[in-house]
Point group: C2
Chain length 810, copies 2
């Protein structure tokens, strides 16, 4: 295995000593020790909190080997000096590495280097007393084999148990720049409040009240003000899965010709809602005590980790969800208003009540007014949405796999393009699925008519007929307001996420590049997942460093220590690279021309030739693909394929050196189609038999305690799969009637060539020497577009066809 830690904060020796005192590894009793071996014994003594007697600790040291022949207790009791090798032999065992399999007792430093574990400074072969203390400090920050820092590992064994109720301990407790788990998770306070939002989406003449579930440390009751992690999740009060499934749209329908229009950007600007907002509910009294608690919340493991570390956690599902007022709107400004109402309350700027009926207000009196948002997918999307308002109190958002523009989620280039794996889903389906007020028949009975009307308006507004960008989608484009962002950003996205496609994070990243906020980006090789509890990267530590800086205002170098961009390597497992930027405007671009079945350098003269394919399949083949998209994808890219004649494929020469694509590949060509309707799809492909990383992480069957006897996460890692002949790098789609842009519908005359320029989804991809780059041009995308199986004959003029590839400078 290979360990990569970005969040070990370099610490001056004197401060390290202070911190070791603070967490009780140094105190008056061990200040008097005179030899390094006594001191190391003493450190180990303190590192087995499960034992109450010294005798047992001695036995534990007997169970570790210090050298190939001597165990730890024997060695330390019989020597004064602590050789660096002995220190790391013992340390590696304590970190969970196995003698023999993982390292050799004869030379542990070889393994330390190979696994990428930090070795503490030393002047000679033995650690001095002073060096030993620094080495122990560094060891506490070092990851175990199971992806936790050694100190977090000790925490799970009860190291901080004596700290939980020790009045002498200052809380929060910061070690190496990160908040530590000194809060008693068995004593958390759980309460529900109803935040009054400045909107009336269910048109009842009253402001919508929104349920919020709060978990906060017991210490808040004694006056501690704490930072807040807020997760807005439309799912977490339940979902209408069956109703949503029933609403799924049929995608086995033809693409239809559209009347050309001449819409401008101004024509499709969303109009602000000027409906007056009802007056606030009068407040009669105020209280600090809620009248409602809750059972198990729908939680997020990253939040659980921070609950043990003194952060309050707030979950809210927003308008139209169970126990809240309002209606679902899927991504529009009303939803954003609903999202930030909770922040405004947490920052002291809005009212909440003890119940949906009460007039008794309840402030967030325990909040330090420093708020972060967390969450993945729709949850991360709402974090992004909130950030684009510049709302006060929101210090940072951690947006994972988030949408930045709903058009880029459900549409592309004038086409209905589904999120991967969910053909037929659309904004209305998601609205229905998350309208959890429906789960309470009594509440639903009263609101049903209004809901059906609003839902019908969503169905109409999303406009599956044209697939064009319109006012409906413009209202759901957060990028327009990116300039308002005041919160620092930690963005996380999967380069293989074909649900929320990479364009979403890319557009946001490009929109904030020059904004005066701190922004960091992590791109992993996964699909639509989160990356807590991976073994090869200290993601949880990164977030801890980040939030300790952002919300607790600790000067821990988070802004400078963390690279701007961390990207997981797609070839080498467990490898994460640091970069200054992604898709930088300064990236060099290589252009390739298209010749029949070939991608060639522009030094070749353009070939005057047209190639063509027909999109229509025999019915049995068509039907089979509609039920088995995986087979379609395989046939689309395979050499020998029943899709020959239904696709065009171009391969480069075998690469003689590695190349790292970085940014948005672009295709320019001229296309004609035999009817007044058509679409083109593109896939960029890495051809070459190779073991590749799986896009889903493998559970390693290791549970990680988020505190001490607290909730758990499950350790995972991307592993390589059996060899595959290819891997899709990125893709793109375009309606031939949206050649100019996504909102203007262009004329399309049969059999006339039109110029088309299509920007594919952004990527970052290492192409290995020995492989070939492939470009596949086709029409129907069985996984994403409508599947009309129409008799559409496409011709491409190769003379004017080019593929532009931005890449890293060599």
């Amino acid at each position: 295995m290979r360990n990569q830690q970005f969040a070990i904060r370099p610490t001056a020796p004197a401060q390290a000593l202070d911190e070791l005192h603070m967490i009780h590894f140094l105190d008056d009793t061990n200040q008097t020790l005179t030899t390094p071996s006594q001191l190391l014994w003493d450190f180990y003594d303190r590192s087995w909190p499960e034992f109450t007697t010294d005798q047992r600790v001695s036995q534990q040291l007997h169970n570790l080997m210090a050298t190939p022949d001597r165990d730890g207790a024997d060695f330390l009791s019989q020597h004064d000096a602590v050789p660096v090798t002995v220190f790391y032999n013992l340390a590696l065992q304590r970190l969970g590495f196995t003698v023999g399999d993982d390292f050799d007792l004869a030379d542990p430093l070889v393994a330390m280097a190979k696994i990428q574990l930090p070795v503490s400074d030393h002047q000679a072969a033995n650690f001095t007393m002073a060096e030993l203390k620094q080495a122990w400090y560094l060891l506490l920050t070092t990851h175990t084999k199971n992806g936790q820092s050694f100190l977090d590992h000790l925490t799970t064994h009860g190291y901080f148990a004596p700290f939980l109720h020790d009045a002498a301990v200052t809380k929060p407790l910061i070690f190496n720049g990160k908040a530590q788990a000194v809060f008693d998770t068995t004593q958390l306070i759980r309460e529900v409040v109803y935040v009054e939002s400045p909107q009336d989406t269910d048109h009842d003449g009253k402001r919508d009240l929104l349920k919020a579930e709060i978990l906060r440390p017991a210490e808040t009751a004694a006056g501690l003000k704490v930072p807040v992690l807020y997760t807005a999740s439309p799912y977490n009060q339940g979902t209408n899965d069956e109703a949503g499934d029933q609403m799924m749209h049929d995608v086995n329908v033809p693409l239809t010709p559209q009347e050309p229009n001449h819409l401008t950007r101004e024509d499709v600007l969303a109009e602000p809602d000027t409906t007056p907002i009802p007056a606030p509910r009068p407040v009669t009294t105020s209280t600090t005590t809620a009248t409602e608690s809750f059972a198990r919340e729908s939680s997020y493991t990253l939040n659980d980790y921070f609950l043990a570390r003194g952060f309050a956690i707030v979950y809210a599902a927003g308008i139209g969800t169970l126990d809240s007022d309002g209606l679902r709107t899927t991504g529009d400004p009303e939803e954003t208003t609903s999202t930030i109402a909770i922040i405004e309350w947490l920052a002291g700027n809005r009212t909440a009540f003890t119940s949906r009926e009460a007039t008794q207000a309840i402030p967030a009196w325990w909040s330090n007014h420093a708020i972060a948002m967390t969450g993945r997918s729709y949850l991360g999307t709402l974090a992004t949405a909130a950030a684009t308002t510049g709302v006060a109190g929101l210090k940072t958002v951690i947006s994972e796999a988030a949408i930045s523009n709903w058009y880029d989620y459900y549409r592309d280039g004038g086409l209905v393009v589904a999120p991967g794996g969910f053909p037929g889903e659309d904004a209305d389906v998601l609205a229905e699925e998350t309208f959890s007020r429906q789960l309470q028949a009594g509440d639903y009975h009263r609101i049903q008519a209004k809901w059906q009307a609003d839902l019908a308006a969503i169905t109409s507004g999303q406009d599956r007929t044209t697939g064009s960008y319109n006012r409906f989608w413009d209202a759901r484009n957060y990028l327009k307001n990116a300039k308002n962002i005041k919160a620092d950003l930690l963005l996380v996205h999967g380069l293989n996420d074909w649900n929320v496609k990479p364009r979403n994070v890319n557009n946001l990243w490009n929109a904030v590049r020059d904004l005066p906020v701190t922004k960091k980006l992590i791109l992993h090789q996964g699909q639509h997942i989160y990356i807590n509890a991976f073994r090869s990267i200290d993601y949880t530590d990164i977030v801890n460093l980040w939030l300790t800086h952002e919300l607790l205002d600790v000067d821990n170098q988070a802004e400078t220590l963390l690279p701007n961009v961390i990207i997981q390597d797609n070839v080498q497992p467990e490898t994460w690279h640091s970069y200054e930027d992604w898709d930088a405007p300064t990236n060099p671009v290589t252009t390739l021309n298209l010749q029949p079945e070939e991608l060639v350098a522009t030094t070749n003269a353009p070939l005057k030739a047209a190639v063509s394919f027909n999109d229509q399949l025999p019915d049995a083949q068509y039907q089979a693909y509609t039920h088995d998209v995986t087979s379609w994808q395989r046939d689309l890219l395979n050499d020998d394929s029943p899709l020959k004649g239904h696709r065009l494929r171009f391969k480069s020469a075998v690469l003689t050196k590695d190349q790292v694509l970085d940014g948005k590949p672009t295709i320019t060509l001229e296309v004609a189609v035999n009817q007044p309707v058509g679409l083109l799809s593109f896939q960029l492909v890495d051809y070459g038999e190779a073991k590749r990383l799986g896009v889903s992480p493998t559970p390693l069957r290791v549970s990680l305690d988020e505190g001490f006897h607290w909730r758990e996460d499950s350790l995972r890692e991307f592993q390589t799969t059996a060899p595959t002949p290819w891997k899709m790098i990125t893709k793109g789609h375009r309606n031939l009637q949206n050649r100019t842009n996504a909102y203007q519908i262009d004329e399309l005359k049969p059999n006339q060539f039109y110029r088309l320029r299509v920007t594919l989804q952004p990527t970052h991809y290492r192409l290995l020497a020995g492989h070939q780059l492939g470009l596949v041009i086709y029409a129907t995308d069985f996984g994403m577009t409508v599947r009309g199986n129409q008799d559409l004959q496409y011709s491409i003029n190769l003379e004017h066809a080019a593929l532009e590839l931005p890449h890293l400078a060599e």
Copy 2:
């Protein structure tokens, strides 16, 4: 969905009222209510523990519909009577069922019947006051849509929170015959002791000390004696996965001819170990306080459920595991001695020390001396092993997917036959994998030489050359001691478990049929899984009823209420049948004769014909199957198959009515082979295109809290898969040199016909009308046997071939 509950204890009305008082649904304040609607409102008032004000409860009743037009609060506040339909409309919503999707407000009783939820007795259309109380009682025992009783659901919302520290509450608290979650899981006491076992498996002249991890309710510190669930798990201190993988045996080796022998049963009887046991360690002092605690134990969700209900839980890994003495032996009497030493300590009959070095004894002073064992696979196996000793204190074992004879796990009919999915595994591999002392390099350093010697002896004793039953295996055959069983038995096994094959539970069931203990059997359609947290069966309640009876001595009708045998239907999802017996000796038997490609009734005259096949495959095909056993299995059973000529297949006529196979199908035939070596394999197959139950349950993405803010299990259910053309029912294997039995090696002359009678693995299987029964005869089983790819030509004389099928009487 369909709900099946076996553990609702019928309760006399007076007792039901007492119990409702006990759990505070009835008390002095609601005794004065005069109308059913007031009483029902009051019940609901008490059923939302998350609210501290009545106002909110009223809102919750507003959110439920009482009739198609009126909500619960409106209806109850405006009527005195409670119609049965109103009661169940409200109840169904509280149980999590959805109006519209799951039931119709116009007639909830239709859904109650369809889902199989119990409806309480009533004389008229409205519940009387008395009837309403009984209806509420029954509702509390009824399962929600998510597979928990309503009372357990309320528990997860905090219903019993006020009971946790209420001195007036008698603990344990029994409701409807089952222990309730009134113990505070945040206050559990965790301690480690070292039990001195009467054995010295690591030959160091000292008795082996065995680590045991104990979790017990805080109430024990105040004197409460509690029952104990003990799980013996050789895995739970860690495993040597890499070392085990490296030891895996090569199965791509030929079957070799053996010299005939004339061994008798006596010749292969295991010899008792008469080595004297070292004297016990002298005890210097005794204490009630342990000196070691532990972090997160490797737990079992069923145990977690009982921790909240006042049971202590004990985990021990046994000899040769991390922090214990001894060496691993894989199933022999030493391992059983190690397993029951913990029970003896828990029952007050053996010494434990506070550490591996201490002379300070620590008794299980908090134990009520009533012990059960739990666990699946190896864990359940050790429970079975313990039961066969008749050890005092062991009241019952719940053996899930347990081995009853290790020969039936690693061998069959004179052949090395691997557990499904683990070709090459054997007793020595498992010993190495579980020898977790190796994980501590210091401990391993001292014991390594002895371990390697003992491990070599296991490799030798298991004898992969012949595959015959010998003294090594006889020492690992628990069935020999089944007569000693004094504990009541709850046996659980998967009918599709090809890891621990069904013969294991079948032989045990048959061995105890006439013993004077209570025994129950549950057979599910899964593979090697556990069945906690299924939606369609109240397994956890069954176990609660069982253990409350067995360990708390509560007279709750468990012995009579639970059917002897519960078997999940293989056709109808969510359906579990009750039977008196499985594989009953009285089952009728249907015999079919074999004709070329046909199974025919015995009314047809036997056909004088021989059919043959050759086991040798082209090398590419052979290699492919070794890497892809699934493809081999598919080709073996498919109609059009590249294995034609390498298998024999016989199909019955299309069945005109359903038939339920029940027991052990047997095949009799005459076989000749062209070399002095050979084996035959058999599969019984259900042919017929049908949607069938998947053998792995589908997670339903619902977490079930095991108490209140306590650990969780994940709800699951077997669901039907896409249609398949066949399903294997059962299989069997035999070495042609072990025609007489598993220990005697018979002569095998080339090309001479020998009579063979092979008993297949037991089954219970509903064959549907319209399907065909198939029998496939082949040799190499790529998933289980050695794969020599030898040129072996097998001939079967059909004249003397017959298939005997025990089945249920019609």
